[in-house]
């Protein structure tokens, strides 16, 4: 009888593990949704159109032009910073380093860090920043561009940015935004919180394993 009980407990434990497995986990899709009804073979079909990141054009730390096309077939994380930021940026990028190190060998992964101070953060300044962070290759791009373009793209990533205030400081939140191969928002994480960034690393793996991400080129 006791043996049976043990077996039962063991079975419950095993099935509990199974239940928690990430096999079929799918990340949510954030942003505005729009239902679109169309007729297919005489039947009404309703699709959901999700918010996507619009076309953009920036320059990276190597002086290369980076557009939305450069991210085709890539899963990526975006954030906003500036190199002389004294408060949250060092924390954000300290927390981003493990993400960079974990995925830098994956050709379908990118990190985009947009500077919100294009006046100071020119291409050479961004290159020096990348060098000092020991960031090489094309996994992590530090992007500069037209200020309005940067602030506008920030809105589509749902982050809040503010130009220099009376104290002469820029205001921005420290979110990391996870974007899938269809350019949809799949996660937002407080980049100053190492635990949230750990969750993002797990979510990136979950996202990479989703069937429609594997299929997308």
């Amino acid at each position: 009888m006791r043996k049976l009980l043990y077996a039962g407990v063991l079975l419950a434990l095993v099935s509990a593990c199974k239940f928690n497995s990430t096999d079929n986990k799918v990340l949510p899709i954030f942003g505005n949704k729009q239902p679109v009804t169309r007729t297919v073979d005489g039947k009404q079909v309703t699709d959901t159109i999700y918010q996507t990141i619009p076309a953009f054009k920036f320059v990276n730390q190597y002086g290369d032009t980076i557009t939305d096309k450069s991210l085709d077939g890539k899963i990526y994380v975006a954030d906003f910073f500036f190199t002389t930021c004294p408060n949250i940026c060092p924390v954000m990028h300290r927390n981003m380093l493990p993400v960079y190190n974990e995925f830098k060998s994956n050709p379908d992964f990118r990190i985009l860090s947009h500077t919100i101070d294009p006046k100071y953060d020119t291409v050479p300044v961004l290159k020096r920043y990348a060098d000092k962070m020991e960031v090489t290759g094309n996994t992590w791009w530090f992007l500069v561009g037209d200020k309005n373009a940067t602030y506008n793209i920030g809105k589509s990533y749902l982050v809040s940015l503010q130009e220099k205030n009376a104290q002469g400081t820029y205001v921005h939140d420290g979110y990391f935004i996870l974007i899938d191969k269809q350019k949809r928002i799949r996660g937002t994480y407080q980049g100053t919180d190492a635990n949230e960034v750990d969750k993002m690393r797990a979510d990136i793996k979950t996202l990479m394993a989703e069937p429609d991400q594997k299929a997308a080129k």
Partner: protein, 141 residues
């Protein structure tokens, strides 16, 4: 009988504990005060850049673990914390060229945070007091 023994032994250990803690001399108490307050100052004003373990950030922000450097530059630490730091410095054989912003910390807070930093992350230097900071700030370049 057993009950009395228990009460007696706990009383005894309490007495010993009190004796030990009161043996802490004034210097130790002063250090503890500076150190624990300094920990809070560090979290609010330094940790974002220099890290929870004083590890810095790659080649951008120097670590606070170079005890020899801290010792050699003890006299100017207060000025650096108060007025910021510019120009190249070599920490643990690595060059750093960024800029550390000035702060609006009071001399007491500067003393607290210096005591905390110079006695954390593997460093061990004596207490920096408000008087030390006041004197040091007069000599800032």
């Amino acid at each position: 009988m057993r009950k009395y023994l228990l009460v007696f032994s706990s009383l005894l250990s309490l007495t010993i504990l009190i004796t030990i803690s009161s043996c802490q001399n004034d210097k130790q108490i002063e250090f503890n005060r500076y150190f624990s307050a300094g920990s809070a100052v560090y979290q609010n004003h330094c940790q974002n850049c220099h890290g929870a373990k004083g590890e810095g950030l790659k080649g951008l922000i120097p670590p606070l673990t170079d005890s020899a450097w801290l010792k050699t530059n003890k006299a100017t630490l207060a000025c650096s914390v108060k007025n910021g730091l510019k120009g190249n410095i070599t920490i643990s054989n690595k060059q750093y060229g960024g800029e550390m912003p000035a702060t609006d910390l009071s001399p007491l807070e500067v003393a607290q945070v210096i005591t905390y930093v110079t006695n954390s992350f593997g460093n061990k230097i004596e207490t920096t007091t408000t008087e030390d900071v006041d004197a040091a700030l007069l000599k800032c370049r």
